[in-house]
Symmetry: C2
């Protein structure tokens, strides 16, 4: 098939290893030898066979990034950032999606593709702590996102309670009183949404706002459709919130759509805050106020943490890294200037 070290070696009249040395920039090679070999390399257009290199080295130079959905712009944008950053460090990123289903997440954590990748960045939704503890694979794993686990793995996530508090506080600040929450998750104490819900609850109670269960809408997933349906249910049940804090921007977009259908104005009748700062929110007919996690910082932290573990011989204690976030106020809360 391709041109191998052997071909180059033969043509240049040196041993295979010498060519390898030139390719790898090994020090002890005479300038003339190096030049001669290099010329042949260029002539033949030699390119190292990564498969063979990886077999020999026991590393593949690939890491996987498994997110719930690529269709969710937040993850697409995050993936972009990870790919970019990893490429700069000579790592290839294999992108995968779990559909947010536990069985898929377990599969990845267990080491699906273990022999193809050196390590994994996983953004779980349904994964349980026990799944992590029962992990068979010993490939480095970095967890991404809001869920909390008691397992010895690096974990990158912004402070979700604080972020949710910021969002809720903003709604209080602009004078809203009946503030709903969309995107809760039934019966999962560790679930992603839990912390954002907690931040909301704290602010509600601190500022004397109602925080009853009737103001909390659970969803199956985190899509626009889920948001639209939840908003509709909320309104149908007779609750008339004057603001909604949504688990993420997609849900907020869905909620906004339902409000438009019902003839309710944003923010005049109902103010909206989302989470993620996806580009879509910046171009909605009513632009979306949102909590913006520092995606680039998250991507960098996750990649660096993983590669550090790949490189590091000694054991490193599992770390918890909290990148920053910022509240971006737009029309869905403060109206058009």
């Amino acid at each position: 098939m391709g041109i191998s070290l052997k071909d180059v070696a033969q043509r240049a009249g040196v041993s295979i290893k010498t060519v390898s040395n030139v390719v790898n920039g090994y020090r002890h090679v005479t300038p003339e030898t190096r030049q001669r070999v290099q010329r042949v390399i260029d002539e033949l257009g030699y390119r190292p066979n990564l498969t063979a290199r990886h077999l020999r080295k026991g590393r593949t130079g690939m890491i996987a990034l498994a997110v719930p959905e690529l269709g969710n712009p937040y993850f697409a944008e995050l993936a972009d950032a990870v790919i970019e950053h990893a490429a700069g460090l000579d790592y290839i990123v294999l992108l995968d999606h779990t559909g947010g289903r536990r069985d898929q997440e377990v599969l990845f954590a267990q080491g699906f593709r273990a022999r193809v990748i050196d390590g994994l960045i996983l953004s779980p939704i349904e994964l349980e702590n026990e799944d992590l503890l029962a992990r068979g694979s010993d490939a480095p794993l970095v967890l991404l996102g809001e869920r909390q686990y008691d397992a010895p793995y690096d974990h990158i996530a912004i402070d979700n309670v604080a972020a949710a508090r910021t969002a809720a506080a903003h709604l209080v600040e602009i004078g809203r009183r009946r503030i709903a929450f969309i995107g809760a998750r039934h019966g999962r104490a560790r679930a992603t949404a839990h912390q954002r819900l907690r931040g909301w609850r704290e602010v509600m109670s601190e500022t004397g706002r109602p925080a009853g269960e009737d103001l909390v809408a659970a969803t199956d997933g985190y899509t626009r459709e889920d948001g639209a349906q939840a908003m509709a249910r909320l309104l149908d049940s007779g609750i008339r919130p004057d603001a909604v804090f949504c688990y993420n921007d997609l849900i907020a977009v869905g909620a906004m759509r339902t409000l438009a259908e019902r003839g309710l104005r944003v923010p005049d009748d109902v103010a909206l805050v989302g989470f993620d700062d996806i580009e879509e929110g910046r171009y909605a007919a009513t632009t979306l106020t949102t909590v913006a996690p520092h995606k680039r910082a998250i991507a960098r932290a996750a990649t660096d943490a993983l590669l550090e573990r790949l490189a590091g011989e000694g054991e490193i204690a599992p770390r918890r890294i909290q990148p920053g976030f910022a509240l971006v106020t737009r029309e869905s809360t403060v109206g058009r200037p």
Copy 2:
């Protein structure tokens, strides 16, 4: 590191090759031998080392999909579909983005990662015909998307002229007279946008609508931002179209945003048609009429064409495959029911 055939062979008291035979389902193995080996495999949790297998076989079992931007939902959704379909055929998909820059596209076409992947599905934007003809790599290549080339590669694309005609005809049908086009591309006869522009021109002239250059807005890229700016330029130049056909949904979303800012109503003042049928358009405050290419069919056709070439010994003549499309009418042209 891991468990190899050798370990299993030793433990089971057979040769390495026999274990390999069991793993690969080779026929001539005694049921008892097979069972004994299988038990040891399960016991030790053996999993084949794909890197080694690939080295030996000369194939990696991976294909790459290179799209302009993962942040563009159309490509994210398409990628989802390709990954899904390829997984069913035991192929792993490596996702990449070119940024729509010619140098990047050339890099991929030339065989960047050639030794890592068996074949490539490329969705080019700026790539020129000469780049393809000068291609060094001999790895199978399938082209995706609207650009047309005279090069011997499979090409998957819907009939863009026909699709554009459908969209334009729809705007005519609802009685619009000054129909603008946003998303043209300066000075590139082969450019992606060219065919959609042509379809628009044809319908305009056939129905006696103006089709002057003042109604055509060029953009640098295909983002929401590009759409917003182009719409603003159009309005600022004194043109007051009563409809706009946008190169894609993202541009349409941007245009819609500008219209909202200027206090113009959709579709009453200006009707809008996009292209791609991204989910975002279904949840905009005013839902977006759009041309919906059959993404799943495209993904399947591209993957199948590539894998067929990978499997096929004999030469196959380059094919041009045209998946279907459909016009989806929503509020941005027909208003709310």
